[in-house]
């Protein structure tokens, strides 16, 4: 440093430029900046402070003059910018304008004023957005229909313990799920009609349906045995005895006589469940056939695009449903129907029912009585986020928890506000 600079001179120089921001700087005395001399530390600090302030103003001047001054400070030695307060900002985000087509509304059950005998009905669909999104509130919450079988079946232990007292009586079973477990609806599965099981006649199966209709006053789903030859006949007879009740007939599929089931639904005023296996194009095809070929009205179609359990193909089931729902919202009139999930399928996962892992390498799986219900909950919850409307379920705890979370996201569950600010120090 060959030339000595006095801070006071620098100050007056800057003052001459009439920089408003410099007014706060005070330079006292006639101090020479001479690095060749020893300075006492306090004095050095004070000087450094003043020099830095002046430098700061010089930088601002350079910036105003358009010099790319910030480039001088790039590189590792640069002091980063230290704003003294948070940058003010507003967050905003748009709505999904492309979701123009609503999902079809479908009502299950009919009260006496509509020719049925149910005390209440369940309306599904009507969404203008993905479930629980802020773009457009869901008009109807999710509903749960609980499974009832027309004969004792194999069940996981955790499920069976809830039904041992009613396992031989479909009507008592139906009463129990509505009264004790909060079922919105009841599904009666006529599995004994399978020729390989009991080959129960359609007329006899229809009696079971009548009993269930008398036992409970919620809307019901009538399920066959899954036998493609027998189901159309069984569902037709059941539809006849349940005339006017707007039951859901489960199911019409491409590998059976769907036209016969569609015809029964039209004739006796029911809704058709259009069931395909994880294939969006097959779902379109079947829906199209039901509408165009069989003349089923749009408000009488519900879809079951198939539910695979968590860990056993749920990725396909989830994405299939999400694609179907997005296609519906963006205008595909062959896919914009409400959806139903056979969530009970979750119990097929070995994690839901097996005593312990068959693999020695796995960590301990813990008690199975807690694994099963949560497998059913998470399978259902995942599909609810993809757009599924109606859940066919089995375990009372699973029903209760799935209702709690879906209705919370739907917006009908109130709770005391929680203060989460102290989560780090919480003793839990």
């Amino acid at each position: 440093m060959t030339k000595k600079i006095k801070l006071s001179e620098l100050g007056s120089l800057l003052g001459g430029l009439d920089i408003e921001a410099l007014e706060g700087v005070k330079i006292e005395g006639d101090v020479e900046l001479d690095l060749g001399h020893m300075l006492n530390p306090q004095m050095a600090y004070a000087l450094g402070h003043e020099a830095a302030q002046i430098a700061h103003h010089l930088i601002n001047i350079s910036r105003i003059l358009g010099y790319p001054v910030d480039q001088m400070f790039s590189g590792t030695a640069a002091k980063p910018i230290r704003p003294s307060r948070l940058i003010e900002s507003k967050f905003s985000v748009g709505r999904m304008e492309e979701w123009k087509t609503p999902i079809q509304e479908v009502t299950l059950g009919a009260t006496s004023s509509d020719g049925g005998s149910r005390s209440s009905t369940v309306t599904l669909g009507g969404e203008h957005a993905l479930p629980y999104y802020f773009d457009n509130p869901m008009p109807h919450r999710n509903y749960i229909t609980m499974d009832v079988f027309d004969m004792p079946i194999n069940m996981a232990k955790a499920v069976k313990s809830n039904y041992e007292d009613v396992i031989n009586s479909p009507s008592e079973w139906a009463k129990k799920v509505v009264r004790d477990f909060g079922a919105d609806m009841v599904t009666v599965h006529l599995i004994s009609t399978d020729p390989n099981i009991k080959d129960t006649s359609p007329a006899e199966a229809a009696k079971t349906v009548e009993e269930v209709l008398q036992a409970v006053d919620v809307p019901i789903v009538i399920g066959g045995s899954g036998n493609p030859e027998k189901d159309p006949v069984v569902l037709e007879k059941a539809a006849e005895v349940a005339e006017g009740e707007r039951c859901l007939l489960a199911s019409a599929s491409l590998n059976l006589d769907y036209a016969r089931i569609a015809e029964a639904a039209k004739k006796y005023n029911h809704v058709v469940l259009s069931w395909t296996q994880l294939e969006i194009n097959a779902q379109k095809e079947l829906n199209r056939k039901l509408m165009k070929q069989c003349g089923v009205a749009r408000e009488n179609i519900l879809m079951d695009p198939t539910t695979a359990a968590l860990g056993y193909g749920l990725d396909y089931a989830y994405t299939n449903m999400e694609r179907i729902r997005l296609a519906g919202l963006t205008g595909d009139a062959e896919l914009n129907f409400p959806m139903s999930s056979g969530t009970t399928n979750a119990w097929g996962a070995r994690e839901a029912w097996m005593v312990a892992s068959p693999l020695k390498e796995d960590s301990d799986w813990g008690p199975r009585e807690y694994r099963g219900p949560i497998w059913e909950i998470i399978t259902g919850l995942t599909l609810s986020l993809a757009g599924n409307d109606l859940f066919m379920m089995m375990h009372p705890t699973a029903v209760q928890v799935l209702k709690e979370i879906t209705q919370t996201l739907y917006g009908s569950k109130e709770a005391e506000p929680t203060n989460i600010d102290n989560w780090i120090t919480a003793v839990i």
């Binding site: 910018i81 230290r82 948070l86 940058i87 003010e88 900002s89 507003k90 967050f91 985000v93 748009g94 629980y132 999104y133 802020f134 390989n196 899954g226 296996q277 968590l310 860990g311 056993y312 193909g313 749920l314 989830y318 994405t319 999400e322 070995r350 994690e351 097996m354 068959p358 693999l359 020695k360 390498e361 960590s363 799986w365 008690p367 807690y370 694994r371 219900p373 949560i374 909950i377 998470i378 919850l381 995942t382 986020l385 928890v401 979370i405 919370t408 996201l409 917006g411 569950k413 109130e414 709770a415 005391e416 506000p417 929680t418 989460i420 780090i424 120090t425 919480a426 003793v427 839990i428």
Partner: protein, 469 residues
Amino acid sequence: MKLNSPLQVYKYLPQINCAECGDATCMAFAAHLIDRSKKLEDCPPLLKDEFKKKYLELESLLAPEVREIIVGRGEHAKKIGGDDVLYRHQLTFFNPTTFAYDVWDTMAEQELVDRINNIANFRKFYVGKFLKVDMVAVRCVSGDALKFASAVKKVSETTELPLVLCSFDPAVLRAALEVVKDKNPLIYAATEKNWGEVAELALNYKVPVVLSSSDLDKLRSLALTFQEMGIKELILDPGTYPQGKQLKETFERCIKLRRAGIKEGQKDIALPIMALPLSAWLVYNDAVTASYWETVLASVFIVRYADIMILHGLEPYAMLPQVHLRDTIYTDPRTPVKVAPGVNEIGSPTKDSPVIITTNFALTYYTVESDLSSNKINCYIAAVDTDGIGVEAAVAGGQLTAAKIKDTFQKAGFDFKEKTDHSTLILPGLAARLQGDVEDVTGLRVMIGPPDSGRIPGWMEKNWPPKPK
């Protein structure tokens, strides 16, 4: 990413088809860059000085919409964020949600070590790999910087897993950072109250940092301010409330942030999102209810956009669905779900060993294979080509038939007379109804196995070797 066709990418490449990347042409390499199965660094010519400008341009054009940040060092380091789409079918989701489970600084030392080991050793076999969890979040419950630092030290001595350091007190965070500064931990969190000091820590220690506010205006202010200060390794915590309307609003905040980032290209908040399912424990006291609800919250935010989460419960019935759902959502939908059909050996089969039928659906095949190999059962396993459909559905849909089974052995050149002295095959329990057909078509003896391959060991004890007729 800003480019969406191989042709657009090709323009930036050397276009010399040198094949050093492993692809025959630059166009093929471009396609792999688009689907993110290859990286720019796989192209050696592009790394030369003459291409530096194009390399840098491509780097920014191919960058994921949501910033990808790294926590930890070495083989356990985790990439967080990096997504390009709102729905997995549009491409795939990248970097599965990082799971950090908590410990706290008031734990007794042995209790702390045991808990860390439970976290680090958790594993669940699934489709040829183990599902595991990723990090340890250390909470400062004591409020004492020295105590916290000593707990963090113990944690870092016990596990290689990356750490999340949790405190709103900058002095506490600083004390812990001094201990683990070379491990690139994540610090939680900067808020509108402490942000200045936490920003200093992030700058001085060069560590990633979580910004926390349940007010999205304030969260964006924090993000803008930190980025202005040159801090890029940021994660957003929009506040996870456990119940009621507050939970619904939490869900909405995650969707808004991600939509703004990916769909609207709002770069300054296109950052990874953190969720705190742990907040379930603030409202439920008993472990089962709290674990259930925590898993419910975790599931909601695995599906809708959390890139990292902090959890508390270590109950297997909570962790199992958590790791499975994460795998469900992050599995690449572009990956084929079939294995090659054929007859494979498990262990060292002899003429006395069983021959077991399954399908070529990858999940089914790997499940059966691992059940057999884990239990050291020497055998042959035949994967029948069912178009990648599982046993039960394939029987119902006609993809698993007696003719297909016969065909599988013929194509594999598997002669029962030569390879076995029992001429018997075992059908899955769920395919029992094919028994007669298979006997007629193959002329073999057909046994019915259990409906779940996990029960094959027990079944073998009772039924194998087959009794002579």
